[in-house]
């Protein structure tokens, strides 16, 4: 198990190296090796998570280590899907280091699971967790695409046709990808929240209990809803959409990590 996770992390790290070298030398085989290493890492990671699942019969989110690992796994998976859909090669320069960082952070955390209880077995809970993490991964990518958009927009506005101008794709593709990521993320977040409510109702008898994580998830949801509304109804796009995607992800990160450390709540016990 640990062996698998170590191999996974090594794959992600090598993929990061591949993408960084690609950024500078722009050779297609570098990007390809980065992508395939990431894919290999993702497969190993999937195997590791599946092994953990069958070993304990529970979805492995029993401590921060496992939660981060799932988050990294979801990010890698969503990136791979987007990569094959949009061919946005350069996005790997954001996704691979992000996944690596998550894994390295996770590797430094204690591994003992929190007290095992039957809470982790429900269909609703598993759906809730998987969907929420996948959605958050999509938002992470939206944030990355937004950052790339800001770089490229700046290059175009300041007429600085240097490093980034050449290497980054066109604004239209970045904008569309960002929008698609947010759309996917929002859909999944919504489903994740709904399944969460159902699960909360079944285990605690109420849909909503003003748990800080619930509150902050709600705030994120509202922000992304506003962003999508702005896009669809008012044609918000470009810089404004990119900035909002980045802010949105900041809030999401706080919901994911900050809430655990700074605030209390029933999500806290298995993300600490």
């Amino acid at each position: 198990m640990d062996m698998l996770m170590a191999l996974t992390t090594v794959c992600y790290l090598l993929s990061t190296v591949g993408y960084i070298v690609y950024l500078f030398y722009q050779k297609d085989h570098l990007q390809k090796s980065g992508l395939y290493l990431l894919l290999a890492g993702f497969c190993l990671h999937t195997a590791a998570i599946a092994a953990a699942f069958f070993q304990s019969g529970q979805i492995p989110v029993r401590n921060l280590y496992e939660t981060l690992s799932i988050a990294g796994w979801a990010t890698a998976g969503v990136f791979l899907v987007f990569q094959f859909k949009f061919q946005l090669k350069i996005l790997g320069i954001y996704a691979a280091p992000l996944v690596s960082l998550i894994m390295v952070m996770a590797a430094r955390l204690p591994r003992e699971p929190a007290q095992a209880n039957t809470l982790f077995n429900s269909f609703w809970l598993i759906t809730h967790i998987v969907v929420i993490f996948t959605g958050e991964a999509a938002f992470a990518l939206a944030c990355g695409v937004g950052i790339l958009y800001l770089f490229q927009e700046r290059a175009l506005k300041t007429k600085n046709y240097g490093f980034f101008f050449r290497r980054l794709p066109d604004l239209e593709l970045l904008d569309t990808t960002g929008y698609a990521s947010i759309f996917v993320g929002f859909t999944l977040l919504t489903i994740g929240l709904v399944t969460g409510f159902v699960y909360a109702k079944s285990s605690w008898g109420r849909f909503w209990s003003w748990d800080p994580k619930e509150v902050w998830s709600g705030i994120s949801w509202l922000l992304y809803a506003a962003l999508l509304h702005g896009r669809l109804a008012l044609g918000w796009r470009g810089r404004k959409a990119a900035v909002m995607a980045i802010i949105g992800f900041g809030i999401l990160l706080f919901t994911f990590l900050g809430v655990n450390f700074l605030l209390e709540g029933h999500h806290g016990e298995f993300t600490r």
Partner: protein, 423 residues
């Protein structure tokens, strides 16, 4: 040993009046190849004719005679006096010819260095030669090397990546903003060579509707017809900003024609779809403050030149890389060609000795008429085996592995020593 020769002219050596006199259409090319084939000095031949160049590529044992043949062929076939184009011709023989061909195919010799069409044109020329069976062992090999080198240059250097003209620069910037230019609506304000070139380029990138605005409506109508666009009145420009995506402006107006005030109101109606201004006019037509508005991009002539300068620097660097690839390929090809020519040399040598033996034996038969048929056979066999023994070591010496520069020299000496090149 056959040599490779190129006789041709291009945009650097000949003005368009001469190039158009000597250009060959597709049908003419076929006829021309048939004609070239009839010259005994020409072994294999290929003809490339594009709007920027006419080149005859051939192999021959006697380059000087073949060059004269090509000149007279050009003059007869195209009905042009030789003195009219003689000064524009360049002639390359051997390695220089191979290098020239590689450079042309890799688009290093093009008017627009790095433009991709030339390779396709050369491929078509080669197909013509194959169809007419005017290419043989040497040209087949040479052309396949050429395609390989051109592809290598394209994939391993950035020679074709970047724009080096104002209109290319505009298209490149447009692509960075819109991704694809397909279906984008264009507004041309004013006229002028550079603006029209840019429009042509955009049309080649399959932009959508084109509107043409001019201070004099008649001129606008004429331009619109030229590009199959729609003429609009100068006063209508603000109304059309709402729907177009790319604006190319090139008027003689002393002040700005479009300011931020024109744009602020329309972005919402455009749902913030990007707006891309190319301002070629000096003094400028588009207020540069517009560039500060979100989703609007304004480039003046200096900004476009910035793109080009960046690209030219890059391209020069890339051209050096391409040069290295080509040099390597030229050496490789020469090695092949020379290895090929060992065999003809040996064959020629053998023929020469056989001929000497035959003459001398004949003389001997006359002097020694009493010899029986059997005696003659024995003496004949003896001369044959002497020839074999004499040739044995030189043949090994010529065929042995070694550097090809050496081999070329050896072959040269052998041919001179035995006078193989003169009957």
């Amino acid at each position: 040993m056959s040599d490779i020769v190129i006789v041709g002219l291009n945009h650097n050596t000949a003005p368009v009046e001469i190039r158009e006199c000597l250009a060959f259409s597709g049908v003419e090319t076929d006829a021309a190849l048939e004609r070239l084939q009839k010259y005994p000095v020409i072994e294999e031949a290929l003809l490339v004719s594009t709007c920027n160049r006419v080149e005859v590529l051939l192999t021959t044992a006697t380059p000087s005679a073949a060059i004269d043949a090509v000149k007279s062929f050009l003059s007869e076939f195209k009905q042009v006096a030789p003195e009219k184009f003689d000064a524009s011709l360049y002639i390359h023989v051997g390695d220089a010819a191979v290098r020239h061909l590689f450079r042309v195919a890799a688009s290093l010799d093009s008017m627009m260095v790095g433009e991709p069409q030339i390779l396709g044109q050369i491929k078509a020329a080669y197909q013509g030669a194959v169809r007419k069976k005017t290419s043989g062992v040497v040209l087949n090999r040479l052309m396949h090397r050429t395609f390989f080198v051109a592809k290598r240059v394209r994939s391993e250097t950035g020679i074709g990546d970047h724009a080096v003209s104002i209109s290319y620069a505009a298209v490149e910037l447009g692509r960075k903003i819109f991704g694809t230019l397909e279906g984008k609506k264009v507004l041309l304000i004013g006229a002028g060579e550079m603006a029209e070139l840019a429009v042509e380029h955009l049309i080649r990138n399959r932009v959508g509707d084109l509107f043409v605005a001019n201070r004099t409506f008649e001129r606008g109508v004429a331009l619109a017809q030229q590009f199959r666009g729609r003429p609009i009145r100068f006063e209508e420009i603000p109304d059309h900003l709402q729907q177009v995506d790319i604006i190319i402006s090139s008027t003689g107006s002393p002040g700005f024609i479009i300011g931020p005030g024109h744009i602020k109101g329309i972005m919402r109606g455009r749902r913030n779809r990007p707006l891309f201004f190319v301002d070629i006019a000096v003094p400028r037509d588009i207020d540069p403050d517009i560039n500060r508005l979100p989703n609007v991009y304004v480039y003046d002539i200096d900004d476009l030149k910035g793109v080009i300068e960046e690209n030219i620097e890059d391209r020069n660097r890339e051209a050096l890389k391409a040069q290295r690839i080509i040099d390597e390929a030229v050496i490789r090809f020469r090695q092949w060609l020379e290895s090929l020519s060992v065999v003809p040399t040996i064959v020629a040598l053998q023929k020469k000795l056989d001929a000497i033996a035959a003459t001398e034996l004949n003389k001997t038969w006359h002097a020694l008429s009493h010899l029986s048929e059997h005696d003659r056979e024995v003496i004949g066999r003896m001369t044959q085996s002497m020839i074999h023994k004499i040739l044995h070591d030189p043949m090994l010496w010529l065929k042995r592995e070694g550097s090809d520069n050496d081999r070329a020299a050896l072959l040269d000496i052998t041919r001179k020593l035995f006078k193989l090149d003169e009957p």
